[in-house]
């Protein structure tokens, strides 16, 4: 079921904010290029609110000493810095033990909807 949460222009590119849908806190992030993503607003590690974290380029590397920008972003936890992939909710450093639920997001008529 889709829930309207806010107008798209209420969240600047690069920003993160919290919404509540059916009693569940969800962090909505908008990448610098404008894509919206929604993740459960509770870090799988220590429970911090991811909505007060920050977006960061997801760095990858083919070999030691190289830092490459993957073109993707991660949402970093405000407490310990855990990264969460915006699309999958997986923590790339520890995918077996740390991931958060992700929700489908759509933008229609300038409004942001979350599927839950």
């Amino acid at each position: 079921m889709k829930h309207e949460v806010f107008a798209a222009d209420e969240l600047e590119p690069g920003g993160v904010r919290a919404v509540e849908v059916g009693g569940i806190r969800i962090a909505v992030a908008r990448t610098p290029d404008g894509e919206f993503h929604a993740l459960r607003d509770r870090c799988s590690h220590s429970g911090a609110k991811l909505s007060i974290g920050w977006l960061q380029p997801f760095l990858v590397s083919a070999k030691a000493g190289d830092f490459e920008d993957s073109g993707k972003f991660t949402l970093r936890c405000p407490w310990h810095g855990y990264e969460f992939d915006l699309e999958s909710g997986v923590c790339p450093a520890d995918p077996k033990r740390n991931r958060v639920k992700v929700y489908a997001v759509t933008v229609e008529d300038g409004k942001v909807f979350i599927e839950r």
């Binding site: 030691a64 000493g65 190289d66 830092f67 810095g81 990264e83 450093a93």
Partner: protein, 370 residues
């Protein structure tokens, strides 16, 4: 009551007939002049007075402490208090007959990579020592397995020496000291690890008297012996784990000698925590460091007596370390371990420590045993 030869023989002759790979045996050299036949004439005068004798009179660095205990295990000392580790036949008797060892990996005492000057001469010395080791030990008894020594501060030359010395089939590893010039994860040293890997050699690390603790040389030996080796091991292991080395050389095994056992779970927990929090600092690392450690780093058990068998099992369980520990006596030192100390462990873990993990670490030993 003082221990006797008979006691020693009884203790070592366990009923266990499975292989027992001793990953830390210190063979000795009576005099560096034994190396004379193996060095070019241009270097020979530096092996005799004054030359080397001003530099390091016994060929090894001095421990800056009053010795609070005997150097070696009582049964392995001659009446003058000197260890019998310069006589291959006696060492063979002690290890193979009395201690039940099947393969003894020689590490020596010569830490060539620690010398900061006269690089050409030191490089020649390492090469000479390898040839002396082959003639004096490896050719005498095939149960002895050798270390390729090199001057790590000159990695390309070291790699050439590894390729050369590795031609002897009893060479099973490259030996490196826990030198503090650079962390061994530094790409500077990659040629050494690459040479080891292409020759199916492990790389073993051992501390020396020159290894300080993180606070320098503490006031007493007991403090130094508590910290120096494990701190050095942790430092270099951490460097290797975050260096990407094992992604480049996944078959490579590194062995940390004489650092004990009880620190290992701590390091794995701590390194994983840091990686989860700041992975982007080292994006070339693609797995938890604890997983890399379990696959690629082995830790010799000596001095295993810092814990009892029950505590060791807890440590193994805590860190999921079934594949990590390999047996070592540290012959001929006073705190050497006999295999009896792991005798009461469950069969699967005991066999892991006696030989299975070592066979994984030393492809050449595993091949011979197959």
């Amino acid at each position: 009551m003082a221990a006797t030869e008979t006691d020693s023989a009884k203790r070592g002759k366990t009923k266990d007939t499975t292989p027992l790979v001793d990953t830390d045996v210190h063979e000795g050299i009576r005099s560096l002049e034994e190396l004379l036949p193996y060095v070019a004439p241009k270097w020979q005068s530096l092996l005799t007075s004054p030359g080397w004798h001003w530099y390091a009179p016994n060929g090894t660095e001095a421990l800056p402490y009053l010795a609070p205990i005997t150097h070696g295990r009582a049964e392995w000392l001659d009446p003058d208090g000197e260890a019998h580790n310069t006589d291959p036949e006696l060492t063979a008797q002690h290890l193979f007959e009395e201690e039940g060892v099947s393969h003894a990996v020689l590490n020596g005492f010569m830490h060539f990579s620690r010398y900061k000057t006269d690089p050409e001469f030191i490089t020649a010395m390492a090469s000479a020592y390898n040839d002396w080791q082959i003639d004096t030990w490896l050719e005498k008894d095939q149960r002895f397995r050798g270390s390729v020594h090199c001057h790590a501060q000159y990695p390309e030359q070291a790699a050439r020496e590894i390729d050369r010395a590795a031609e002897h089939p009893s060479m099973v590893q490259v030996f490196l000291p826990f030198d503090d010039t650079r962390q061994f994860g530094d790409p500077f040293y990659r040629p050494i690890f690459e040479a080891a890997a292409r020759n199916d050699l492990a790389v073993s690390f051992h501390h020396s008297c020159a290894n300080k603790t993180i606070l320098g040389y503490p006031r007493y030996y007991v403090e130094w012996h508590t910290l120096a080796a494990p701190q050095s091991g942790m430092g270099h292991a951490t460097s290797l784990l975050f260096s990407g080395l094992f992604d480049e050389l996944p078959e490579l095994r590194v062995i940390l000698l004489e650092t004990g056992v009880s620190w290992v779970p701590w390091l794995l927990f701590r390194a994983d925590q840091q990686y989860r929090e700041v992975r982007a600092n080292v994006p070339w690392v693609r797995r938890l460091p604890s997983e890399i450690f379990r696959d690629n780093i082995r830790v010799a058990t000596q001095p295993i007596t810092e814990v009892n068998s029950r505590e060791l099992m807890k440590i193994i369980e805590l860190g999921d370390l079934e594949k990590v520990f390999v047996f070592a006596t540290d012959y001929p030192h006073y705190d050497a371990d006999s295999a009896d100390v792991i005798g009461s462990l469950p069969d699967d873990i005991r066999n892991r420590i006696r030989y299975e993990n070592a066979f994984d670490a030393f492809p050449r030993i595993a091949r011979d045993a197959a």
